[in-house]
């Protein structure tokens, strides 16, 4: 993993983190959280921890799905 790839995937993770902070809609925040997760996965793969990557890939979506029933509590506007 050379410098160009580090910069590109770090840009993905940073845009996701700033997007999660700045956006107001709850679904937009969850989508941006998925972008953060996509940005850090290549860093785990580049260190060679493939078993950790498999475990993280199965646990992080479950965390999002746990949060989702809170999101549909009140009706969204069209």
């Amino acid at each position: 993993m050379d410098e160009i790839l580090v910069l590109l995937f770090a840009a993905v993770a940073l845009i996701g983190a700033l997007g999660t902070y700045l956006q107001r809609d709850r679904f937009d925040k969850l989508i941006a959280l998925g972008i953060v997760y996509g940005g850090i996965v290549p860093f785990i793969a580049a260190r060679g921890y493939l078993d950790v990557l498999i475990a993280v890939s199965l646990i992080v979506p479950i965390t999002t799905i746990i949060v989702l029933p809170l999101c549909r509590r009140d009706t969204r506007d069209a």
């Binding site: 999660t20 959280l33 992080v60 949060v67």
Partner: protein
Amino acid sequence: MTPEFILGCIILIIGVIAAGFPREKTYLSRLINLEIPAFGLLLIMLAYDEMLALLTFIGVTAISTFVLVRAIERREAAE
């Protein structure tokens, strides 16, 4: 100073600011923002090659999110 460590510190600082001072002061907004520093801390643990700590931290984060969702549901049902 590996790139994982620097990126993890930046994401951790952004996440701490986001969880401490959210733009919309609701429970759900804070709960979603609370997962950003979890990813930053994951990258810092990755930079120090702490594999077992990383797996345990991810599992505990999922369980604590479940507990917090239950607590928020109780709080909103009581109001």
